[in-house]
């Protein structure tokens, strides 16, 4: 058993009286495709926000590669090797598709701001390098044709792919995808599934994803944790989850 790349140990966060994430514990192994599901308001995105440093856990720990990362600001978490996408797409709308991805790569930038202000050869080379890397990622995500268009002009499905390309540009070890298939048609969703698999198989990324599309999660993820009201209610491989009574109750319970 390899050391887990990400561990949540009794992670808890409260907003006032509301316990949004309650004592959640799970480990993700390197190279895993890991799913986080649950009904709306279950605390999935809050988990992402805890991992990426947007929130600090009220109690419990979050370990990345064995190191505690509680309360480290988001930009440092990104530098450590965790990248994310957003449920409500947050692209840099007015910038070009290519520039969006270049910004993703900027955190590995080697030059200082004075070199950029003076436009020294080092800064130019560095920018060229980031641009080439971004272009390569756009190829992977099938967005190369769109490179010079405005990000906000892209259709919805492509915006989601661009978010993934941008996250990939930070060269993360762990990729957090927040509802990557939301709003996609079956064909797009199928393509996305293959892309995510490719990211793991060809680029060696570990992927943690939140998704409501059950077909997507069940086909893609190797292990799944189910949250409801901030608490874990089930975990296991997709087959187990599918037939887990608690899960069925959580998803259908309100209706019954």
């Amino acid at each position: 058993m390899p050391d887990p790349i990400l561990s949540l140990q009794n992670a808890t966060i409260q907003f006032g009286g509301l316990v949004a994430v309650d004592n959640v514990t799970f480990d993700i192994n390197p190279g895993e495709l890991f799913g986080l599901i649950g009904p709306n308001g279950a605390g999935k995105t809050t988990c992402f926000n805890l991992v990426t440093g947007v929130y600090k856990p009220t109690s419990g720990n979050i370990l990345f590669k064995g190191k505690v990362i509680n309360g480290i600001p988001p930009h440092k978490v990104a530098k450590l090797g965790i990248a994310r996408t957003f449920q409500n797409i947050r692209l840099f709308g007015a910038l070009s598709v290519l520039d969006n991805v270049v910004i993703g790569g900027f955190l590995r930038n080697q030059t200082n701001i004075f070199a950029s202000m003076a436009y020294l050869p080092g800064a130019i080379r560095e920018t060229e390098r980031l641009r080439d890397q971004a272009m390569a990622l756009l190829e992977v995500m099938d967005l190369a044709d769109e490179a010079n268009g405005r990000a906000s002009d892209l259709p919805y499905g492509k915006q989601r792919r661009l978010e993934i390309a941008r996250a990939m540009a930070t060269q993360p070890d762990l990729l957090l995808l927040d509802e990557p298939a939301a709003g996609m048609n079956p064909q797009e969703s199928e393509d996305l599934m293959n892309t995510v698999r490719k990211l793991r198989d060809d680029f060696g990324k570990t992927v943690l994803l939140i998704e409501h599309d059950m077909k997507f999660v069940m086909n893609l993820c190797e292990r799944i944790v189910v949250l409801d009201h901030g608490e874990e209610i089930a975990r296991g491989v997709p087959v187990e989850i599918r037939s887990h009574p608690e899960v069925i109750k959580a998803y259908l319970g309100e209706a019954c």
């Binding site: 990426t52 947007v54 600001p73 988001p74 930009h75 990104a78 530098k79 990248a83 994310r84 957003f86 947050r90 692209l91 840099f92 709308g93 007015a94 910038l95 070009s96 290519l98 520039d99 270049v102 910004i103 993703g104 790569g105 900027f106 955190l107 930038n109 030059t111 701001i113 950029s116 202000m117 003076a118 436009y119 050869p121 800064a123 130019i124 560095e126 920018t127 980031l130 641009r131 010079n148 941008r166 996250a167 540009a169 930070t170």
Partner: protein, 390 residues
């Protein structure tokens, strides 16, 4: 090799052009020389505010404060040098001018740091009012500091700074252009677009904001120092809220984020009131009539533009009727104004008129072209301002 040739070539060209402008200034009257200096200063101010406001998206509306910090730093330095006998009342030697400019650059940069820090907590309009407040507090403190001339103002030995003004302008434009060509500039833009996403992508939002404030205000400070030596006398009235608003207007009118737009807008808005300064006095009723006519005309065009959005041509019958009403309205207001005893037969000196025309033009431009003269685009010189393969 070619890279360095181009680089030094362009720097050399900038210096040459600066001295060329300097020679024009030297050969012409004092007024023209002063205008040439002020034009360069306003371009610097607009471009440096554009870095904070347009590129990084931090809503600062108190840019004159940094201009003031630089200006007073230079004046204070000059007064010390004067009292020590290092420089005489006849004029400040250029080396000392450059020392003062460098000092002002630093003090204004530090002021920018102090204003940049609250920007980490404050968003949008709250930040705006703090930057405005900083300028007002500074103005009142200076007014009550006898060492800085109090409310009267402070004298400094003049110097012929026109070439250096334009070198600073070129430097400021160059730095902004360079930044935007590199990944660093993109990180500034990303903060404008979405702070949360930027930080998730590893951009240190704090550092970017503070850097933008420090760089932007340092340039404004250097401009202030040159103003001091160009004018020979400064007081707090040169740095009122109106000045901040005019600089902000230049940025917005030029198209938020567009460096070239800021330059063109700065020159236009600067030249407009200066040209009007020499205009002859006008009869009041004619002025009021013209204003009313223009207002009606703008309303007509604006309405027509809204209809154009519905897929119609601007030039429809309604438009012509509107223009007729505008002309008639202007005449009616003019005649009415002449009938009022308080307003009849008065003429208005152009000095009072120029700010009226300035603000009228401002409103009209915003109504007819709200996205700025150039929108977010850069103007011309593709290879210079556009990223090579973007």
């Amino acid at each position: 090799m070619k890279f360095w040739a181009v680089r030094f070539g362009s720097i050399g060209l900038a210096v040459l052009v600066s001295f060329g402008i300097g020679m024009i200034a030297q050969g012409s009257s004092g007024t023209v020389s002063r205008l040439l200096a002020l034009a360069g200063l306003y371009v610097t101010l607009a471009v440096s505010l554009n870095l904070i406001n347009g590129i990084t998206g931090q809503f600062s509306i108190g840019h004159a404060a940094f201009y003031q910090v630089g200006s007073y730093t230079a004046a204070f330095l000059a007064s010390i040098l004067l009292s020590r006998g290092v420089i005489s009342n006849l004029g400040t030697p250029i080396p000392w001018v450059l020392v003062a400019v460098a000092t002002s650059l630093v003090t204004a940069g530090i002021a920018g740091l102090f204003i940049g820090l609250p920007s980490l907590r404050l968003r949008g309009d709250y930040l705006a009012i703090v930057t405005l407040g900083f300028g007002e507090i500074l103005r009142i403190v200076i007014q009550n500091t006898p060492q800085l001339g109090g409310s009267y103002g402070i004298n400094s030995p003049k110097a012929f700074v026109v070439p250096y003004v334009w070198m600073l302008t070129f430097l400021c434009v160059g730095v902004c252009r360079n930044l935007l060509q590199t990944a660093h500039g993109l990180s500034f833009l990303s903060v404008r677009e979405d702070e949360v996403a930027s930080s998730a992508m590893g951009v240190n939002v704090t550092r970017v904001k503070v850097a933008a404030f420090v760089i932007g205000s340092a340039f404004a400070g250097a401009a202030g120092a040159l103003l001091t030596f160009n004018e020979g006398f400064i007081n707090v009235n040169s740095f009122t809220m109106d000045v901040s608003f005019i600089i902000l207007t230049m940025v917005v009118l030029g198209g938020t984020g567009s460096v070239t737009g800021s330059i063109v807008a700065a020159l236009t808005l600067f030249i407009l009131p200066e040209v009007l300064r020499d205009a002859p006095a006008m009869p009041l009723n004619a002025v009021l009539g013209t204003l009313a006519g223009i207002a009606l005309l703008v309303g007509t065009i604006r309405l027509a533009m809204d209809h154009k959005g519905l897929g119609r041509s601007i030039w429809m019958p309604k438009t012509y009727i509107g223009i007729g009403i505008a002309v008639a309205g202007g005449i009616v207001v003019s005649v009415l104004a002449n009938c009022l005893p308080a307003l009849a037969n008065r003429t208005i000196p152009s000095a009072e008129l120029r700010m009226v025309i300035f603000s009228a033009v401002l409103v009209i431009m915003m109504l007819l072209r709200p996205q700025g003269i150039f929108g977010v685009r850069e103007l011309g010189l593709k290879s210079f301002f556009r990223r090579a393969n973007a």
